[in-house]
Subunit: 342 residues, 2 copies
Amino acid sequence: MSAMPPFLAACRRQPVAHTPIWIMRQAGRYLPEYRAVRSKVGFTELTRSAELACEVTLQPIRRFALDASIIFSDIMVPIEGMGVALEYAPGPVIGEPIRTMAQVDALRTLEPERDVPFVMEAIKLTRAGLPAHVPLIGFAGSPFTLFSYLVAGKPSKEFSVPRAFAQAEPEISARLMEKLADAMIVYLRAQAKAGAQALMLFESWGGLLGPHDYKRIALPPVKRIFNGLKDVGVPLIYFANNCGGSLEHIATLDVDVVGLDWRTSLAAARRTLGSGKAIQGNLDPAQLFAAPDVLKSRVDEVLADAGPGPGHIFNLGHGIWPETDPDAVARLVDYVHEKTSR
Amino acid sequence: MSAMPPFLAACRRQPVAHTPIWIMRQAGRYLPEYRAVRSKVGFTELTRSAELACEVTLQPIRRFALDASIIFSDIMVPIEGMGVALEYAPGPVIGEPIRTMAQVDALRTLEPERDVPFVMEAIKLTRAGLPAHVPLIGFAGSPFTLFSYLVAGKPSKEFSVPRAFAQAEPEISARLMEKLADAMIVYLRAQAKAGAQALMLFESWGGLLGPHDYKRIALPPVKRIFNGLKDVGVPLIYFANNCGGSLEHIATLDVDVVGLDWRTSLAAARRTLGSGKAIQGNLDPAQLFAAPDVLKSRVDEVLADAGPGPGHIFNLGHGIWPETDPDAVARLVDYVHEKTSR
């Protein structure tokens, strides 16, 4: 059994005392204490205040026996740092959507300590406030996901504007994603330097691409990022949302952990990704609304799909919904620990 | 080579002179002649007028060398016929979302000739107006898809309300979907009787379920429908949107054709579905925005994934977008024919 915290051991595919669990968006609106903070400050203000970001990051850790913490922030925070005007309504709305090479060239090179110092400050404060056995995760958005928001200009159901743009303007698109990749490398390195013990990249919208386009469009800038983080020495996690059809390409990435959404069978993912990668996921957030006994059987399904081998981090397959009962989360966390204690 | 129209021959996995192609939502807003009709009548009025529904159904057939026609209608039309008040804004908004067993019990049994006679009338008119080599497809929504709209009450990005409801209230959910299945059986039978030469079921939202839940929740009422249509004698098509992770369950359905979205590799689908089913799809609608030569190479990819064997119907992997250039559609249709002529 590893002396490391279970989350970090599982990232390295080492044996663990129990399957570690954390929950995407665990600091969020389903918690009354989070809503209490948000009733006083706006979302942007919350991301820019190291003290408040630290406070809401710690809230779920105080309440549940979670095995990891993830810094409260938003994937668009470094984009604002690159000089892009945006607001949350509640999804990101971009002042001037990016459509030309001139706009891409005009994007400022991100210097995290100058442009988004509050993120690193929040990481330092949070690390100091966390129990030793709860590692802190830093994160960023994938280039294709950031590209989708920047080109669309506003959240959209199908993101048809950026998807059409990627087809019509492949050179501008590739250059923009390359620039975003370089920014995310320095951003994630700065988070690790500030105390993040794992780094996660959210491919929220890569699942909008078919497998060939995923390989052509979304994958190269992700490869660039993970190659640029190789020497950092902390586990690297890639959350591939709705990318089940592209797993053979994801298998070529040099990452420690692949996060899977709830539509992708963990058993199928294990087969395609091979034994060299840990997996993270993937209970459907909807299943937290099932009766307690049914929820347990759904957890059993996820654990059975993940298999008995090392290298599974339990999580939801997507962010937790604001309507979720916190008591269901408590039951989930406790049951995963109870069921997997070795 | 079959004497049947290529579309019907491909549904039966028989050799064809060229790979047949039609396009989901081919009668739609990307066509100026469709927008001209819609500038005069609302969407509901259009679905209720047999003459106008026939007219917009024929529009793309006049313009392109398409191999099949699909009757213009909406999956919610028979739901209105069952006594549910709704309007399109533009997605369906339900007067009183269904949340109780009493509401399920109160749903009227659909009698197509009484409740939605204009659909059968439109099919008769359209069949009479179509060239002999262009078969006419009738369609309905899958029970889980209709359930999602009925419980949500309005279109939503994640459909979290019906997804949570399906977990929290499995009995009400199953009863509602069973009732919807029975209604869709009589509805589709009536369409075939009126002249529809193939019947298609749209599983637009089944991809919101993980594979285990797909099998538990969405699949049983679909099985019920296809079993109830066995003796009709026309090809049965199941469009499984974003259900790539559930293909092993879809393989158990007794259907002639499985339609695949653009995220699901046709090659992988062929492997999982076996040689007993034809496949339909799956060019990304976004790829119609690529330069003409690039579009050709994307078509080549789809054809290569489908493989050289019989039983492929070319289509987009989702409905065509309103912003699409009709000239790109003409190039697509002609290129598929040219490339696959035997």
